[in-house]
């Protein structure tokens, strides 16, 4: 299992946790459950985690697949520089965010899932991974290959005009051999 970038799985898990926190929070607030303040917090936390985790990182090896419309989020996340680039920061951030979710039933699942995502991010950070933004490729105009020649400057070498004139009395002798066989 040498080539796994754990951050990819951590990212999926964190995004799912964000959605679960959000759902649990909405249920808690809408149902006016006891401790609904934690649910309100979970809504905010869920939205934040989703926004942070939506843009996928560029893979160190292999092709990166973007999520639909992630470019705007990439720009936002990129602007925080080392805070979002470093996975240690993310691991501890998620661990901290998930704690208040544990105080209310509706958000406890989101809390545990986010905790697991935090652990996987920690593993990713220990292995030295970091977040790279995926920027759209600017298609540079490829220079034409070197063997495309410039148009010739001089006319091709031709025999003198006397030889070139068509000799109707000796058509056979006037013809010359083609180097490349021409067939129908």
């Amino acid at each position: 299992m040498g080539k796994i970038e754990w951050a990819m799985w951590a990212n999926e898990q964190a995004l799912a946790s964000g959605l679960i926190l959000l759902t649990g929070g909405i249920v808690g607030v809408a149902g006016q459950f006891r401790g609904w303040q934690f649910a309100a917090y979970a809504i905010a936390a869920g939205v934040f985690v989703c926004l942070l985790e939506y843009p996928r990182s560029k893979r160190a090896k292999g092709t990166s697949v973007e999520r639909t419309g992630q470019y705007c989020f990439t720009v936002c996340v990129k602007s925080f520089g080392p805070l979002t680039r470093n996975y240690y920061v993310r691991a501890f951030l998620h661990a901290a965010i998930c704690v208040p979710g544990g105080f209310m039933l509706a958000t406890v699942l989101g809390c545990v899932c986010l905790g697991i995502a935090s652990i996987i991010y920690l593993a990713a950070a220990i292995r030295g991974e970091h977040w790279e933004p995926i920027v759209p490729r600017k298609d540079t105009v490829r220079p034409p290959p070197a063997d495309i020649k410039n148009p010739p400057q001089n006319p091709p070498p031709r025999p003198p005009p006397e030889t070139r004139r068509k000799r109707v009395e000796d058509l056979e002798g006037a013809a010359y051999d083609n180097p490349i066989p021409v067939k129908d």
């Binding site: 040498g2 799985w9 149902g31 697949v65 406890v108 699942l109 066989p181």
Partner: protein, 584 residues
Amino acid sequence: MANWIINNGLTAFILVVWMAINIFLFLWFYFFYDLGDEYIYTRHLLGSALAWARAPAAVLNFNCMLILLPVCRNLLSLIRGSFMCCGRTMRKQLDKNISFHKLVAYMIALMTAVHMIAHLINVEWYNNSRRGSYDELSTALSNLEDDNGDDDDDNATTYLNPIRTTDITPTYFVFTSIAGLTGVIITLALILIITSSMEVIRRSYFEVFWYTHHLFVVFFIGLVIHGTGYIVRKQWNMELHNVTFCRGRSSDWGRIPQCPVPQFKGGPAQTWWWVIGPMVLYIFERVLRFIRYTQAVTYRKIVLHPSKVLELQLIKNGFKMEVGQYVFLNCPQISQLEWHPFTMTSAPEEDFFAVHIRSAGDWTDKLIDIMQTLPEGAQGPNSCQKYFGMWHRMGVDGPFGTASEDVFDYEVSMLVGAGIGVTPFASILKSIWYKFKISNPNLRTRKVRTQDIYFYWICRETHAFEWFADLLQGLEKEMEERGMADFLTYKLYLTGWDQGHANHARIHSDKDTDVVTGLKQKTNYGRPAWDKEFEQVRKENPTSVVGTFLCGPAVLAKILGKKCAKYSDVDPRKTRFYFNKENF
């Protein structure tokens, strides 16, 4: 539209039936719990949230039963074999097993979400009732004591509200009850399974997907235990206690003759009825895979082809294969637990089976390395067994059949192999060659229905497939000798050509054989113009049923699927194209 019906009709029908069963189960159980008289008091505490929790539970039972079945590949092979009489269309459905598995998984995820939200509401309202936050009837119902004090049997309890004290939180209740704790654990397992099964993870790091997926064991064990807590409770002394009369008189319960104290009991766990069958089948499946693994496999020949292609010729006792089938290989020396699928490239007529393995990842690279470091003339790693013990062996599970088995069922077959996808067709073409060699009468008079085969080979460059070009050369010669040159029409397409190729081809354009492959059939450059190809097949076979087989990328599958639909005629007397796709 009619063409779509021919090609996808049975699949659509099966999906409609499956969805109809889901909807039926949902509605049936919803109304059972929402209208049943024995749940009137329960509903007073929980409202519709009771029904909203029980209905998805029923759908979950059904789908958890179904989800194990499409991944029992030995069982599916068995069914496929016995369906030989029942027509191609039925067997085609078995090719789509993984798609069905995913669909059922989505339904499980959706229903889990609904079930969980409804139960969140239930627990909260039960807890509030217990604390007396609601009306008098709710408090009275929640205060009902357990009258069967000395009986240890959980189901002999008579209370309604499973929350028995007024000072606990919903979280505490969930984590101390069987249903709650198992529910949280299995939902967590489900979430981990789903996040590691996303396409991005699956395609890049199969191991993470595969090992995390084994959490399904936790899921199923938890699922069976989940319902054993007798938490959903209904009233059972309805004849003695008339609800309509007594519901407003909760303070008189037990004191007036018309209203004895209402007695409740929980229902037994039912999930195991649904899932026990598939669980047993799946255990058989894994045991069978293990038994196959332990059977001895010997190496007949190991060939290292150019461009890092390894051919392994193996012999296993009692191994019988059909054309185009695949096996799973396991090499404990590389990894104890990894099994990788490879299509067999040998024909059933041979007394061994062979696979061609191309370097495509760390497992295949290591395998090629091991084989490269063997001394010349060694009888495979088995000869070193006395030094290395059990490590140098190969496990083989299979064979498993996919669409290519059906190629001889059609009158006319179009075979399209893109890149490495040409391998199942190697098996088919070799089989044809053997059939020619073995017996004199040509293929048309045998039981095999096939009249014509069109083979399209598309690849970027032929380096990795020189072994296949050799096979085609042999076939070409054979068919010319027997005067059956029009039985097999094949076309090669090199999509990775550049100016150098084109120049080279132009210079040698009047040679008889192709410069790249040495075959009589000239190589085409670029991708095939499918409209032209389908037109040609249709013209040459105006009344036949044509089976189109593809082993290649999904994009090509879409294109070919569309062309098959476009060029098929609803009229059964005219040409009809059926599309079959290999999937790995």
